[in-house]
């Protein structure tokens, strides 16, 4: 277990380093620069700016300075666009928002997905099964910004239940979490139902039933664990998608998460912020994939890490 964990962490670190190096070079190779503005700047002022923001050295010198700060102090540098704060401060404020939203989205994806899929598998071919699978297909087809719009229309304008945007207490996280999680709940429902139906046909399930267990107990106690495997394997990509999906959802609901920073930093040539958010995303994805592997091996001990 411990050696596996260490091996996993080592892998994530290597990926992070590669992403940091590639990101550093790629973002600086895009035309335009942080000081490019609608109104042109005088060359004397550009020179002052470059010196002040340490962009006057060669690419290699800038690279040395950046990596030095990053590796020795974990300093991701100043933001070129939001000039009152450092990238570390921006991440410290926005990461908890995105992480909470992502976790809630995951709860929605798993909670609703597994319940719906499980109930559908109990009575295959029933009206319930048909309508759940129909809804799941629809949920899969709807992009999250359309879903977000629908949710706003229904739960903000039609029934005034939730705030329309902004971060004001727990209620303001409900609609974003639904918009983020529902498409994956749909995917999970389908995966779990298929997995269950396959497992429920096995001999050992028949044995469990023969022992007199209720259908619910068979489902939760015996069939669920192996049937969860396809869902868990899908979670890695789903986590990635939930994270990147939050870019859109955060914008629709004006939530101060990482997503908006990522998009804006790229568009504004805010090198340090773009790279900082990229590294955080990479780290989160690496850790998420690692956890998925561990859960999968727990569910099915035949899977070796």
């Amino acid at each position: 277990m411990i050696p596996n964990l260490l091996r996993g962490l080592f892998g994530v670190t290597v990926v992070l380093l590669i992403v940091a190096h590639l990101g550093f070079v790629l973002i600086r190779s895009v035309p335009g620069n942080p000081f490019e503005d609608a109104k042109a700047l005088d060359p004397a002022i550009v020179a002052n700016l470059q010196e002040r923001w340490a962009l006057d050295g060669s690419l290699f010198e800038q690279y040395q300075a950046y990596m030095g700060g990053l590796l020795t102090e974990g300093d991701l540098g100043p933001s070129f666009k939001m000039r009152d704060v450092s990238v570390n401060e921006i991440l410290a404020q926005s990461l908890p928002v995105s992480a909470t939203l992502g976790l809630l989205g995951l709860f929605v994806a798993l909670g609703i997905g597994l319940c719906a899929g499980g109930l559908a598998a109990l009575r295959p071919g029933s009206w319930w099964d048909t309508s759940v699978m129909g809804a799941a297909t629809l949920g899969l087809a709807l992009p999250n910004f359309v879903l977000a719009g629908l949710l706003v229309l229904l739960f903000v304008f039609h029934w005034q239940l939730f705030p329309v945007a902004g971060l004001d207490g727990p209620l303001s996280l409900v609609l974003p979490a639904l918009a983020l999680g529902l498409p994956y709940a749909a995917a999970n429902a389908r995966l779990f139902r298929t997995g269950l139906l396959e497992v429920l046909g096995e001999d050992w399930i028949r044995t469990a039933r023969a022992k007199g267990l209720s259908p619910g107990a068979v489902l939760v106690g015996h069939a669920a664990r192996p049937a969860l495997l396809p869902v868990v394997h899908g979670l890695g990509p789903a986590l990635a998608a939930i994270l990147s999906g939050s870019l859109v959802v955060e914008q629709v609901f004006a939530l101060p998460g990482l997503g908006a920073h990522f998009v804006e930093a790229g568009l504004n040539a805010d090198y340090n912020l773009a790279l900082g958010v990229l590294l955080v995303y990479t780290l989160m994805l690496g850790l998420a994939n690692m956890s998925v592997d561990f859960v999968a091996s727990w569910l099915d001990p035949r899977i070796r890490l």
Binding site: E36, G111, L173, Q251
Partner: protein
Amino acid sequence: MTSELRRFLVGLSLGVALLLALGGALLGGTRRPRADFAFANQQEIESLDPAEATGVPSARILTALLEGLTRRDAAGRIQPGVAEHWSVSDDGLLWTFKLRDNATWSDGRPVLAEHMVGALRRLLDPATASRHAKLLWAVEGAEAYTSGTLSDFERVGLRSVGAHTVEIRLHRPLPTLPQVLAAPQLLPVPPGLPERLGRAWTRPENFVGNGPFLLVERRLRDRLRLVRNPNYWGAHEVGLESVTAYSADGLTTQLNLYLTGVVDWIIKPPPTLVDELSAREDLLTGAQFGTTFLRFNVHGAPFTEDARPTPLSDPRVRTALTLALDRDSLARDVMRGGHEAINSFVPGGLPDYTPAVLPPCDPERARALLADAGFPGGEGFPELRLLYPHNETNRDFCDAIATQWRRELGIDTRMVQQIWKVYLDSTRSGLYQVSWGAWIGDWLDAASFVEIFHSGSGDNRTGWHDTEFDDLITRASAATDMDTRNTLTRAAEERLLQALPIAPVYQRVNINLVSPRIAGWEDNLLDLHPLRDVRLADPSTGAANTGDASPADSAPPRDDAR
């Protein structure tokens, strides 16, 4: 339902509830009652340090927290700020500003002349590296000080005389100086604070201002909370006790915030919905001091290389392309939302300037000119590439232009879209043939608008040089009075519209949705709306009673809107 299933469901619901409660409590910050006035301040502000700040969202907040020598009122007119009155010498070079003696910082210290000069010095200092230092380059020695060739600030024309007098000596006359001094970038900073705290001085717990409001909360990309500053000299004129400025990027999100009563003012409703919203009493539109135009690369090559004349280097071709455009249709049918075609480069609306006149759409003459230039019916004319910064409105606009050129002149146009920063790089370097362009004035002055096409201006971006035009601009900027300045500028604008390195298309408009709860908000050419002058139409509906403001739909129409 089995006990395992029940346990699973109960656990799941508890987990979600806990996460929601924790998330909401941890992330939500301090719950405060709704402010007297809330608005969607578009993007997150870039900085609360005037020397660093760019963009209108920052300006809206800074002008509420700080006050310069002069300031703008709700109608956009210049009013005394920290300076009570001012005078200028006959040669237009020496300005003397007398400061009011009751102006104080929010920590109780008086605002002194040396503070105002210190802030301007800080802006010019090369170590500050402010993008806005150039605003003051009409001041004697200022450019050399910023460029680092002059290190002795004594030789810069900025001086405090006693506690309440600021003297500004210019090297060329600038009749618009009081307007320039109202720019948010020239606002003062609390003496000693930036030096002591670095960029942390802009945090709410450290911020000291001299404006009508105080900063009490700032959450990045979320909101700023301001409250009335009791120490402000004009506190009795300030109508709001509290203000919340939300950061909200999405236009639809902003509209939703307005329609649900969360905010009382949004700046730009989604363009696709403007037609639908146009019947509303609270949709306020008006002309803006800005022009959208097309830019031709006259140089025919990147600006760092030698010129390689192309058909666009021929004024007849540029005139043909300009006259072939049906500007009325582009403004009204494509842009919609109250846009009007423009027949000049300088936008209309200035009280003391009559813009030069661009002939109306004339496809007949356009075809003749094109034939004259060697391309009858567009034959042999190379495909044009039209560059625009990526967004849907620009795409529709450029698409309509391509259609008109095809129809009237037989010229094919390929559209090229780039993200904003890349677009700016391309136009600055001359890596384009024809491009979308827009210019919005920072203050109401025709000369500052036309002078961007001076051959030495970084904003020219067309490669067009004309010695007579340059000469007129130079003479206009040396004029001591507005009349001479405007006469010379008008002659330069005529010259520009003869050569047409650009094709003006429409005057930009302000589109605001303003709740009828609000008074003291006026549409103006610069689309600037100082919070100092905003008040509640009915003060009894203040903060305490507006926890659930009624949707704007059901509110009575306002009568003091324009």
